[in-house]
Structure formats: C-alpha cells, structure tokens
C-alpha cells in the first residue's frame, strides 16, 4: 500500500504543482496572487470541451487553440482589469482576481451550469504495473508535464534575457522601467503565459473527473498551499510544494483518517506561515535602511 500511495501522491501532487507553477509565473511578474486562477483552469477545460465535442475538432488542435485563447484572455484581463488598479492597494488586486474568477464561473454556469459533463477521453486509458505499483498513463503525462514545465521555466527565468527582465521587474518595477524595460508589456505577457498554463492544467485535470463550473475551486487552495510550502516566487518550490502536498494528503488519508484529507492543505499553510514563512525555497527579503 505504501508504494502505491507514494506513486499516486506524486501524480496527484503534480496536478497541484501545475496550477501552482502557473500562479507563480503571474506572481513573479506582478506580485499578484491570482485567486481566480482555478477558474482559468476551468475555462481552459470548457474551451477544449467546446472545441472537441461541439465543434468536432481534433483534441490536439483544440488543446492548442485553448492555450492560445487563454493566453489572449490573460493578456486582456491584465490590460483591462489589473493594470488600471496596479498602483492601488494589493487587496484590490486580489479582489479583482477573485472577481474575474467568479465572473468566469458565472459565465460557464450561464451556458452549461445545469450540466455535469463527461470530458472526452483524450488521454490514453488503461493501467500498467511497475512492480507492486499500478500506474495510469495520465499519471506519467501529468508528472512529465510538471517536470518539463519546471525545466522550461528554470531555463527561461534564469538563463535568458527574459529571466533577467523578470527578476528586475519583480525586485523593482520603477527601477526596471528606469533602465528601459517595458514593464507593462512584460507583465501582460506573463499574465498571458500564466493563463495559458491554466488551460494546460484544465486539459489534464478534466479528463480524470467530470467537467462542471466548480471544477477547479478545490484545486486552487491546494495550489496556494503548494506555493506557500514551496515558497512564493519559487518555481522549484511550487513544484516540490505541490508534490509534497499530494503525498501528505494520501498518506494522511490512508494512515490517519480520510476525513483529514480536505484540511491537509490548510494545515500546511498554517504550519508553514508559523514555522518558516518563506517556505522551503523562498528567500527572506531583507531591507536595509
């Protein structure tokens, strides 16, 4: 049982990590935690459903289109709703993100709200054994997607001029602007990338459950817990945090009580904020005066 729990915990945690990574991209660019991100994940899944089931498009084309459309949505949300209030209090930005999320959820309910839809079986089906452990192809696909995403983000953010730009903007928007960085263009692109990653998350989550407007609401808090555990702003932290959360949930559920699975994320948030607020890989900010 332990081996199965560990393997399944990693696979489940990879789902949380995928969502947490996307939220980290947006956070790194704008210091905004997008509390509406779960609904972007849902929007991505519904878009693919629309294209595959209603328009009859092939899955890969539909998924690609959904990623592109969510990218555009992310840019539009930033330019239309976030940028105008960037100079205001952070709480306003958080509330705007929540509002956008609820608006997307409401739109989905308006169109499909009374239906719980079976998502097309787009991932390979069946299972296979590796020793005593049972694996599904979706486990490998999601975990592989997380590893690939972390690797790409690491290369982009630490080894390219774009990464230098990101670090500059994260540390000081004004300073970055003074040295000629188009901060607004950079931030809108990052929102687009974050939203596109949300679409990817939706495409991988929806096939394993049913599709409904509240699909990703529970995943959001887990992604937030992953970011907290791993350290805000750290891609590696988001990935490791997500996987550790997935493992914790399954081990707690199997060996202590399944009633505690739902609150594991909250307990982790509380514990991390009390013991090590910067998380496993986050850096404590020191301000010299």
């Amino acid at each position: 049982m332990l081996a199965q729990l560990l393997v399944s915990g990693v696979a489940q945690g990879a789902l949380y990590a995928l969502v947490a990574l996307a939220m980290t991209v947006i956070y790194r660019a704008t210091t905004v935690i997008n509390f509406g991100h779960g609904d972007l994940v849902m929007a991505g899944a519904f878009l693919v459903y629309l294209l595959v089931v209603l328009a009859g498009a092939p899955f890969l084309l539909s998924a690609s289109l959904a990623v592109v459309l969510l990218f555009a949505l992310g840019v539009a949300v930033y330019k239309g709703l976030i940028r105008p209030i960037m100079a205001g209090p952070h709480l306003a930005l958080a509330m705007m993100a929540v509002a956008v999320g609820y608006a997307l959820r409401g739109l989905a309910r308006l169109v499909w709200g009374r239906e719980v839809l079976p998502f097309p079986k787009v991932l390979p089906q069946g299972t296979f054994m590796v020793g005593p452990v049972i694996l599904a192809p979706s486990d490998l696909i999601v975990t592989g997607a997380v590893i690939a995403t972390v690797a790409i983000l690491a290369v982009v953010f630490y080894a390219t001029p774009l990464g230098k730009t990101a670090q500059a903007v994260f540390q000081s928007e004004r300073g970055a602007a003074l040295v000629g960085i188009n901060v607004s263009a950079f931030q809108s692109t990052m929102w687009g990338i974050g939203a596109a990653m949300a679409a990817l998350g939706g495409i991988l989550i929806a096939p394993v459950t049913l599709l409904y407007p509240d699909l990703a609401a529970a995943t959001l808090i887990r992604a937030f817990a992953a970011m907290t555990l791993g350290g805000f702003g750290s891609f590696l932290g988001a990935a490791v945090g997500g996987i550790l959360l997935g493992l914790s949930e399954l081990l707690v559920g199997a060996y202590i009580s399944s009633k505690l699975i739902d609150i594991t994320a909250y307990l982790i948030i509380i514990g991390v904020l009390l013991i090590r607020p910067s998380g496993l890989f986050g850096r404590q900010t020191i301000v010299r005066v």
């Binding site: 049982m1 199965q4 729990l5 399944s8 915990g9 489940q12 789902l15 309910r109 709200g113 009374r114 239906e115 719980v116 839809l117 079976p118 299972t127 049972i134 599904a136 989550i205 394993v208 459950t209 049913l210 409904y212 407007p213 509240d214 699909l215 609401a217 529970a218 995943t219 997935g246 949930e249 399954l250 081990l251 707690v252 559920g253 199997a254 009580s257 399944s258 009633k259 699975i261 739902d262």
Partner: protein, 387 residues
C-alpha cells in the same frame, strides 16, 4: 325577547357560513390554478433544476389537454439557487406575493428544510417533489406531503438490496461528511444493525477531491462484499475511476447523487439506487417520456433528473381532478390524505398518504447491468422489475 331572537339568528347564520368562510380558495380563479415551483435554476446545484422543468413540462401537457375542470395551471417558478436564505425568500414570495394555491417543488434538502417553517405556518399545501431529507416532512405538518423517496427509505433500500445477495455481510462505505450523505448513511447503518451487521470500514471523500487512492486502498484492504458510495456525481466518477485503476473489484452501490446516464457507462458490478419505474428509455417510462420530453423549455435536455419531480405532479393533478370545480386548499389536503397505492407512472412503487403518513413513497429500485451486459432495473438482487 325580540333582541335575543335577532342575536340568535345572527349567531346561527355565522355558524352556518363559517365553514364556507374557512374554505381557502387562494390561487384559484375561474380559469386558473396557480402552482408555485421553488427550485435551483441557477447556482452550483442548477443541474438539479431539471426536475423543476420536468414538473413544468408535465403541467404544460395537462394544460394542452384542457386543464383541470376548465382551469389551466399557471406555473410560477421561484429560483433559490440551492441557497437557504434565498429559499425562504422564494417561499414567502410565492405564498404572499404570488398567492399560489399550492407549492410543488423542494429539490435541495437544505433549502426545503429552511422553507418548511414558513410554509407550515402559511398553511399552503406543499407537495415535496424531489428533496430527500425526511425532516422536511417529519414531524407531520397538516399541509406538507412528501412525494419523493426520503433518504431514510433510500438508506434502508440500499441495505436491503445488498443483503438480498446471498452471503453479503461485509459492507464498506465511502461518503461525504455533509448532511445529504448522512441522511442516507445513518438509516442504512441503522437497518444493517437490526440485521446484526456493522460497516466493516468507512472512508470519506469530500466534495471537490480529485483523487480517491487512499480511500480505495483502505476499502481494498478490508475485502468487503459491497462498497456503498454515497457521493455526488463528480466524486462518484473519481471513486469509480480509482477503484477501476487500483483493482477494487468488489460490488459497488451508488446513492441517488448522480445522473445515471453520466455515471454508469459501462460499469459491471456497479449498482445504483433508482427512483423510477423503469429506465427512462424503457417501456415503463414511455408514457412519461412522451408527456415530458417534447415540452421541456428550449435548450433543456432530457436527463434522469427531468423525471425526478413529475411523479408528485401526477398525484397533484389526480387529486385536483377528483375534487372537481369547488376547489379549496382544505379539500386538497383532505383528498391527498386519501391517496392510497397511487401509481404515478413515473416513480418506483406507489404513493400512499394519510393524516398520519406524510412520507408517501416507500419503495426504491436498483439499476445495474445484468450478466448479459444489459442495463436493468431490480427489485432485489437478481430479481428484475417486471411490467
């Protein structure tokens, strides 16, 4: 002396006319009978609103046939979005502002429970169409009739079906921790206790969880004969997916939480509580389907839930027809109390009400695949319902 005779005559006149004054005809005109349908038409439980549209379709069918004794049914929908506060507001609006003759609805149990005090106090007859919590109609209220199978009946039915399989003794449960789940789980466990059986293992899968590995492994370890999954639709899918993946091959029984058309295909060894007479595309439901499907609102698709309300409406129309033109709320209540073994043509079993029995639906069937892979409706293990 003359004065006292006048007083006596006036008193007698009052006594004779008081019964007429006491007869409440609110919501009835020469040409219409107003029926209020409180329902979740929006919000997270909006998929259950299909039951309200099924009720509406049935009443439309009745109106097309000429109505009831020359009166058409005027339907007034009240959207409560499965929110308790909104439900109370909707009930008050339908009663006081719209002045309906009766209420036919009640789809989210929590909301129905919240509405009960308002409705009971008003005296407006309420025929509960769908909600399952037995506390909606217990203790008995003069004006409340519960026309859907309660969770108590359902929980006992789960247990009866499982125990009807020879040798089935070890039962596992996977459930939410909410009131809805407890409403099924508690009566089922109570019934099992009367047979000397306690659940072998109980695990929790909360709403929104997308993985059931830990729960499935614990159930597998317990080697149960049956697993009862008291879960809503998305979570049943998660459970069945992980059960199939991890080789939990034991028999499984699902509660009334899912639209079977979305959940069941194809799962040998998975049975689900079934509240209808027959499969919705089966011969036993042909008449109901013909009445309801063509009259659903534009854009509304026929689902299992479309039939999860009209059974109560069939009973209402039957009673209204029996009463005749001189329609009052008091007569409606009195006639409903005489309903005995009434076949709605939609629901499993029949409806029986009396002044001391207000939970009228006491039978639930089970649906599952037979050995030939054909979806079938069962009364008990191996015994199919016949028509």
């Amino acid at each position: 002396m003359r004065t006292s005779r006048v007083v006596m005559a006036a008193a007698l006149a009052m006594i004779w006319t008081l019964p007429a004054i006491a007869q409440d005809r609110t919501g009835v005109t020469d040409t219409t009978i107003k029926i209020g349908i409180p329902a979740p038409l929006t919000g997270p439980a909006a998929s259950f609103g299909a039951a309200a549209y099924g009720i509406q379709a049935y009443y439309t069918h009745i109106n097309e046939k000429g109505g009831i004794h020359g009166r058409k049914i005027e339907i007034i929908m009240g959207d409560h979005a499965c929110n308790e506060a909104k439900g109370v507001a909707v009930a008050k609006k339908l009663i006081s502002q719209d002045q309906v003759f009766l209420l036919n609805g009640g789809i989210c149990s929590g909301v129905a429970l919240a509405m009960r005090p308002v409705i009971e106090e008003s005296g407006v007859p309420w025929v509960v169409s769908t909600a399952v919590n037995q506390k909606i109609s217990s203790p008995i209220a003069k004006n409340i009739f519960h026309a859907s199978q309660t969770s108590e009946v359902a929980g006992q039915s789960f247990a009866k079906f499982m125990l009807s399989k020879e040798g089935a003794k070890k039962i596992g449960i996977i459930a939410h921790t909410n009131e809805w789940s407890k409403g099924y789980r508690d009566p089922m466990v109570e019934f099992l206790k009367t047979k000397g059986i306690a659940p072998t293992v109980e695990v929790t899968l909360e709403r929104g969880q997308s993985d059931a590995t830990a729960q499935v492994l614990r159930l597998k370890e317990a080697s149960v004969d049956f697993v009862v999954a008291i879960l809503y639709e998305p979570e049943i899918v998660v459970f069945l997916r992980d059960a199939q993946k991890l080789g939990l091959n034991t028999l499984k029984y699902g509660a009334l939480g899912a639209d079977f058309m979305n959940t069941e295909k194809p799962m040998k060894g998975f049975y689900q509580a079934f509240q209808y007479k027959d499969l919705i595309d089966g011969p036993g439901m042909k008449k109901a389907r013909e009445m309801i499907e063509p009259r659903l609102p534009p854009g509304e698709k026929l689902t299992d839930f479309s039939f999860y309300g009209p059974g109560s409406s069939v009973a209402i129309v039957h009673v209204l027809e029996k009463i005749g033109r001189d329609l009052t709320r008091e007569k409606f209540i009195a006639e409903m109390d005489k309903l005995t073994n009434f076949d709605t043509g939609v629901m499993a079993g029949t409806l029986t009400f009396s002044p001391t029995q207000r939970q009228g639906a006491t039978q639930l069937y089970t649906v599952g695949y037979d050995d030939a892979g054909k979806l079938s409706v069962y009364e008990s293990w191996g015994k199919k319902v016949s028509f």
